[in-house]
């Protein structure tokens, strides 16, 4: 069972549900006001993309303060597998569950395109899942604030500790070190700007999104706190 976290303004929740369903897993939506004491029955939590709270103030900033995020934090601290996609990544960064910041694209515009990605780190459940297959994958991006930023010292630390998960082959948005996705120190929390849930059928243009789930869903890797 995968928990899909919805904030007001989340708009990829149904797409992520389709993705999970296609992998043969079941899902349950979690609402931003839900302060769930125990999420341990979930195999993983996913924060989908969208514009939570309209992305006002800063992307993900208002959502990071919602009650459900306190529950997500506890789940992550107990080792549970958490994945943030696009705006979900921004929320995790604003919640300090992931390092760095996501700022406006270098060209100051929203970018919708396909990108080529390189898998870098194989740590944690999310890293392992992708490690089992070829080192590159093709996914769509769609964001206005996806430029990964961290200070030089923090970037060095991330590289050293193998927290850089995915890199753009052709940097579309000016991200430092071409970073498209990162992991937390333990490797159980992951975030990426591209949308794997939009690449699961050949008619979509790529099926690489299917590689994010290990065979039989994420069950084998999920930490149950």
């Amino acid at each position: 069972m995968i928990g899909i976290v919805r904030f007001p303004g989340t708009n990829c929740d149904r797409d992520v549900a389709q993705w999970v369903h296609e992998q043969g897993d079941s899902y349950k939506f979690l609402w931003h006001l839900d302060r769930v004491a125990d999420l341990s029955s979930f195999d993983a939590l996913i924060l989908p993309g969208g514009f939570s709270y309209g992305d006002y103030l800063r992307s993900g900033a208002l959502a990071a303060r919602s009650p459900v995020m306190a529950s997500v934090r506890e789940y992550a601290e107990r080792g549970g597998a958490v994945l943030g996609i696009c705006n979900g990544f921004q929320v995790l960064v604003e919640s300090h569950l992931l390092p760095g910041a996501l700022v406006r694209n270098e060209n100051l515009r929203f970018i919708d395109d396909w990108v080529e990605l390189e898998t870098v780190s194989e740590r944690g459940p999310w890293g392992e899942n992708l490690a089992a297959s070829p080192p590159t994958l093709r996914l769509p991006i769609a964001h206005g604030e996806g430029r990964f930023y961290a200070s030089d010292s923090e970037l060095n630390r991330l590289e050293e500790r193998q927290q850089v998960w995915l890199r753009y082959v052709d940097n579309p948005n000016g991200s430092r070190n071409n970073i498209a996705g990162v992991l937390n120190e333990k490797g159980n929390v992951a975030g990426l700007m591209p949308h794997p849930e939009r690449a699961i059928f050949s008619w979509m243009g790529s099926q690489d999104g299917r590689r994010f789930f290990a065979r039989g869903g994420t069950k084998s890797h999920a930490g149950r706190g």
Binding site: G54, F110, R198
Partner: protein, 770 residues
Amino acid sequence: MAGAFLPVAAPNPTLEEDDMKEKLKHYRISEAEYERIGQLLGRAPAGVEWALFSALWSEHCSYKSSKVHLKKFASTLTPSVASAAGENAGIVDLGQGERVVFKMESHNHPSFIEPTQGAATGVGGILRDIFTMGARPIASADFLCFGETKADRMPQLVDGVVRGISGYGNAVGVPTVTGKTQFDPTYNRNILVNAMSVGLLLPEDPVALSAARGPGNDVVYVGAKTGKDGVHGAAMASESFAEDTEAKKPNVQIGDPFFEKLLIESCLEVIGKKLVVAIQDMGAAGLTSSSFEMAAKGGLGFELHLDRVPLRDLSMGPEEILLSESQERMLLVCEPAHFSELAEVFSRWGLDAVRIGKVRSAREMQIFWHGEKLAELDPALIVDQAPVYERPHGEWKSPRLRRADFSSARGARADAPPSTSAPTPSALEATALQPTALQPIMEQRLKSAAWGSRESIYRQYDQRVGGMTAAGCDHQIAVLRLPRSHRGLLLATGGRCSWLKRDVVVGALDAVLFPSLQMAVKGGYPVGATDCLNFGNPERPEIMTEFVASVEAIRDVCMALRIPVVSGNVSFYNETLGEGVTSTPAIGLLGLLPQVGCVGGEAATGENQPGDFFQREKSKLFLVELPWVEEENKLEWRLMSLAAAQTKSILSGIATQLAAIQHLVMTNQILSSQLIGEGGLAWGLAGFTKSGIGFRLERSTRDLVKDSLYQMVFEVDSRRQPDFSKLRALGLKVSEIGHTQANLIEAADWRMKVEEFWNQRRATMTELIH
């Protein structure tokens, strides 16, 4: 208060004539309309009634100049159209329980004043028209016409409109999957911003309607609070631009896609739970039009308490509340027993639901302000009895029959300095009659925004949110995979300025034919259309003549192709200081593909989907031309015949030809297919080299540059020979014109690396939009 001008009971005999003139001007009511109001009410209008009549009798709300002609679209309706007469948008039944709701609407005037907010609220408004019927919006399209890039404010307008569409559409989570962006001097002072939205009803989804029912039911206001946004906006949209747009500042409405998203989810939830009796969005003329129309359609009345309307600006009076065009608001009717459950849903989404009145059995709208009755009148008087004008218009004659006008128009454009102005197709057409070399023509186009790549525009649109997009803006038409039946829903827009300019009837026919042919070359067929008719001042007979001719042309071609026109919008007064735009009827066309396949799939099992870009090197390229289009070097004759007496007989053959093309694509292994309709074969095909594969064409320079309405090209594996016999039997001309090759474009004297072609084309647009 406005009520001070006139007593309720009888006209004030002492009211000065000048005051009256002033008042009529303020409310934009003509003297004849004032008399009509007097007759309907049996007295002079009083108090807020002025504002009510002003708003609902505006061109924008009443369609008073177009109504008599729009009725002609009724003859296009087919049994697949689920009855939704007079509703916010049309519904087409696709079978298997899947139904689509769609409409296109203009937001031209607001976008010219404030491009970002104007375009954004245009997108928001059309989305509300869709989900108010219970359908989840699944795709948007846009139809944009801008002036020359050197025209005053034009770069800012282009940038602002694109930002508005992307900012709103992306955030609300509805993908923008296709569209058209044109540049032409005719839009220098009046841009066109038309937005289309498509919603999907799954088998279990109920349709929500707007006709109020059930006396005693609650009238409920939901969504954003009311502010002074766009007060008198509806009346403004019905006026031509004067030069003082600065003075119209307070009309700017601000859209909030975040609120819209909450509204979509909460409205769909309450409709799905069957808690709603009737619902309508507050669009133009806000609360006035929604409440009066809902009551009039239901043959009932409302009791409305304006003091209960949630306000953002507490200084607002009743007239402003009635006319406010604040965005993201809906009005609904529910049974009192369901109110608390309904309010709970909205509250969970962070929205207020406030009871502002009751449905009454009497056909009377009673409007209260802190207990005081401000007005009491039959809603039908304002809604159904709005004036209908048969504006003077003449017999339409093709410009080809008025040769003198045509050559002078063409001459004027050809005079423009070539270095700075976009070469219009008309100017090129002149060149095309005696072409000596391809190279200079192509080089000139590579420097012009009119011919530039639209990538920098649509790259700003989220094209894939929703998980249904199989083909987005990069493609000739959009394809969405329907979630249950897995059929392909096709979406395309039509209306090409260059052809409309030459001959509005040819252009109007083409607005339907071009996207229909685009669907056919992909193996699909059209199932329904919506229109957005952008014209100048309807009080000018020559404009009205073009309007009537366009409506009839669209009707004729839709009847021939069995395409129901289920919804639409008219935008008049697209003129500034007496200068109107080229009459621009835009079409939004929906189609079906029996199955969504993939490029390179097996045709025999229906899994092949011809690509848009060339797929392989050394494939054969076949050109297919329609018999009524191809008439060597006699462009003018051809257009004349298309638009005149022969139109009907030609159109009747088209349905068969389209079906034959569709059949060819479905049964043969086609690698890629293209429809070219402007700029000639060489330029057209160069646009399909994005995959990196080029081509070599074996035709004369003249053939390669010749402007034609429709040229279809099919890429086929060199070892295969498609069965063209049926097409040939129907009179279509099929010829092999060349082959694909690695990364090089070769056509007559034009030789260019594919990569170089794209670099140059992109650079031109990047100067405009980085």
